[in-house]
Amino acid sequence: MAQPFPSEAWLNDFETLLNSDEQYAEIAKNWEGDFMFAIEPDKGSQDENMYYYMDLWHGKCRSAKTLTQEEAKHAKPAFILRATRSEFINVLTGKLDPMQAMLTRRLRLEGSMTYVLRNVPTVFDFVRCASSVGIVE
């Protein structure tokens, strides 16, 4: 069922979906690295930053939660991905290729570029799963 993005409900659905997806489990079986997604408000929006934390390990999501601004400030995940809400939605709706988004800094990656480039199939399958959650505008 589609959920607003970003929201805790969307993240919960994504975690459930990711952990039940056999294709993702196989493709991402070697992935080791937690992510923080910093979702910034679009220009002109009054919203605040929202932070998702996902502990991704061997094809499963061991933990998914939202972080407060303070928690995000002290978090030390292997990877941080920052972008505006619109850019995240462009990726989640298939309008923007995730690798292209990272290489052009529309999604700003912090962490090992080598590791991400080595795991392109995992990146695409992660996005496939995320896209299937659906977004309520």
């Binding site: 292209q100 290489l103 480039l117």
Partner: protein, 613 residues
């Protein structure tokens, strides 16, 4: 304001005489430098009657106005002439430090004509020009050894040497010119032109400052541009993971050729990627003069020796193109090509064709001298590298290039080549823009004019109308490709690396402060279009037929699987639209009279239109 006029040194190896001249300021600003100005300088000298390996055929080494200034990734030098590979316009550019050192001698270009009676090398140390014997190097020293030997002889470790190897000496049609232990002007066979002049090497050492018109204004701009470039995401990828950083991504998109462009999927892709190199053999990075990208690789193999690591084209050519997934073997084949002075793209392409014909039983054991040319056989591929350089066994046939080899075996449409130049490793079925680039580039199949594959992966340049379009788009992409070719021509002419993701307005600002010019983005784009059309005109004079603006059938056959499955670019439609956009005559392929006049190329009208009317 400092004098930034273009100074050309001409050396006649037949007579031993040399002279200096200056290019008119108006031409300098209109053609910039590099291969753009090179085309202007050589236009009248390149004729259909003059064979590329004739002593009087000119060889031009030419810098751009930004070369060596410390601007963003601007350490490059172009080498131009007539190609022994294609019989057409030849250019190849090279990084490292040679171009910068050449400018520090006080010259911006070096034209070499004639032929020495015995092997020689040319030494330029500031204003001293010396032709020295090279008989002790000829036939015995590879390109790495030659550089070291000449530096030792001249007694100055800061001397930079550009040289040829065995392939150049024996005039193999894809012989390269190397400097700085592995920086290569690989394409179009200009190493053979050097060899035809009995010229083993050129050594340069200079102590003069490179002139900057407005140093005070240039300094802050240079810093700003380099900081931005250092932090650019592409730079980070190239520095951290190398030019093969996108291997897995390109495999996903279907832009990476496999098994000589005959397969859609290669299981071993991840074993030959830039990431794999980082995790296994990489020991460090290497940069050209003043470059913050540092895409060059240093690697250590099982023998414990640290050496140059391969870049994308070499990895793909000796890797997936041959079904090989062994980075160490790929590195060694690349190194042997460098030492012999052969272009890794053309060599691996020709070998790939032999592998494919072996698979399809068009070649048998008798043809190969017993070599088992099955996909993935790195030992056989290595053997062919040696045989090509020495013109032995099957290598004797392959040394004539893929086009001739395919024709010899009755399958001309199987050779992945355009106008006689072997296709590099961006599959046009994964990127329709590259189909048009290959078909229309002035030097044959070429990935450097432009590198439209970067646009296809999202690197749009919005401010000059180069948008990101679907990789399978057809005629709607044509204007994009043409503008990108013009912009790439500008950057090549300036001496700027194509990997440098620098905003166009910054490029214009830097150029104007370095040269004291008043170019705009629009006028700079026009210089790119001017040079593109001038090179087209040169090719027309050299006998190019517009029907050669095409891809072989092998590259237009749809693949069954992988990211490019079920697609072939609509090249005929794209070409027609491209001719219209360029204002090229549909019958002859020549740039129209009106367009030539508009671009200030009236002076070539008698040669292009009236002489053959």
């Amino acid at each position: 304001m400092r004098d930034t006029s273009f100074r050309l040194l001409t050396v006649d190896l037949s007579s031993g005489e040399f002279s200096y001249s200056t290019i008119e300021a108006v031409d300098h600003m209109a053609y910039l430098g590099g291969s753009g100005l090179g085309a202007k300088i050589l236009f009248h000298e390149l004729t259909i009657e003059l064979p590329p390996l004739n002593p009087q055929a000119p060889l031009l080494l030419i810098t751009g106005p930004l070369t060596g200034t410390g601007g963003p990734a601007v350490g490059r030098l172009a080498i131009c002439g007539k190609s022994p590979a294609t019989g057409l316009w030849a250019e190849s550019n090279i990084g490292g430090f040679f171009g910068t050192e050449l400018r520090k001698t006080g010259i911006d270009g070096l034209k070499i004509v004639g032929k020495a009676s015995k092997p020689v090398y040319l030494s330029i140390c500031d204003d001293e020009v010396d032709i020295r014997p090279a008989g002790h190097l000829w036939g015995s020293k590879d390109t790495y050894e030659t550089q070291d030997a000449i530096r030792g002889e001249l007694g100055d470790t800061k001397t930079r040497v550009a040289c040829i190897g065995l392939a150049g000496e024996t005039k193999i049609r894809f012989a390269s010119i190397l400097c700085d232990h592995g920086r290569v002007a690989g394409r179009t066979g200009l190493g053979a032109v050097m060899g035809s002049k009995n010229l083993k090497a050129i050594a340069v050492r200079g102590t003069k400052p490179i002139p900057i018109a407005n140093e005070e204004r240039f300094g802050p701009l240079r810093r700003k541009a380099n900081i931005a470039l250092r932090n650019d995401m592409l730079t980070l990828a190239f520095r951290e993971v190398g030019t093969a950083s996108a291997t897995e991504y390109w495999e996903h998109l279907g832009m990476m050729p496999k098994k000589y462009f005959s397969a859609g999927v290669f299981e071993g892709a991840e074993k030959v990627s830039g990431s794999q190199m980082v995790d296994t053999i990489l020991t460090g990075y290497k940069a050209c003069h003043g470059c913050v990208i540092a895409c060059g690789r240093r690697v250590r193999l099982s023998d414990g020796v640290e050496r140059k690591g391969p870049e994308y084209e070499t990895i793909m050519g000796f890797g997936p193109n041959l079904g090989i997934d062994d980075l160490e073997a790929i590195t060694r084949m690349g190194e042997w090509c460098d030492r012999y002075g052969m272009d890794t793209i053309s060599v691996s392409n020709a070998i790939g064709l032999a592998f494919l014909l072996f698979e399809r039983e068009s070649l048998n054991d008798d043809d190969t001298g017993g070599l088992d040319l099955r996909w993935g056989n790195a030992e056989a591929a290595m053997q062919l590298v040696h045989e090509i350089a020495k013109r032995e066994g099957l290598g004797k046939q392959l040394a004539r290039g893929a086009k001739a080899f395919a024709s010899q075996h009755g399958v001309p449409e199987m050779a992945a080549q355009v106008k006689g130049l072997e296709v590099p490793y961006q599959d046009p079925r994964g990127s329709s823009g590259m189909a048009l680039v290959y078909a229309t580039s002035p030097r044959g199949a070429c990935h450097n004019q432009g590198d439209y594959y970067m646009v296809e992966t999202g690197m749009s340049i919005d401010e000059i109308g180069i948008d990101f379009l679907n990789r399978r788009a057809g005629v709607e992409k044509v204007a994009n490709v043409a503008r990108h070719q013009d912009w790439t021509t500008v950057r090549n002419s300036l001496g700027m690396c194509i990997f440098a993701n620098v905003e166009s307005k910054m490029v214009v600002a830097i150029l104007n402060e370095v040269m004291g010019w008043n170019h705009s983005i629009e006028s700079l784009m026009e210089t790119g279009e001017r040079a593109w059309n001038l090179k087209r005109a040169i090719n027309m004079r050299l006998g190019l037929n517009k029907d050669e603006d095409r891809l072989p059938k092998h590259l237009m056959k749809e693949l069954e699987d992988g990211g490019a499955a079920g697609y072939a670019p609509p090249l005929d439609e794209m070409l027609k639209a491209y001719y219209d956009f360029r204002d090229w005559d549909g019958e002859t392929g020549k740039p129209s009279k009106d367009r030539l006049k508009k671009l200030g190329l009236d002076w070539i009208l008698p040669e292009i239109w009236e002489a053959q009317a």
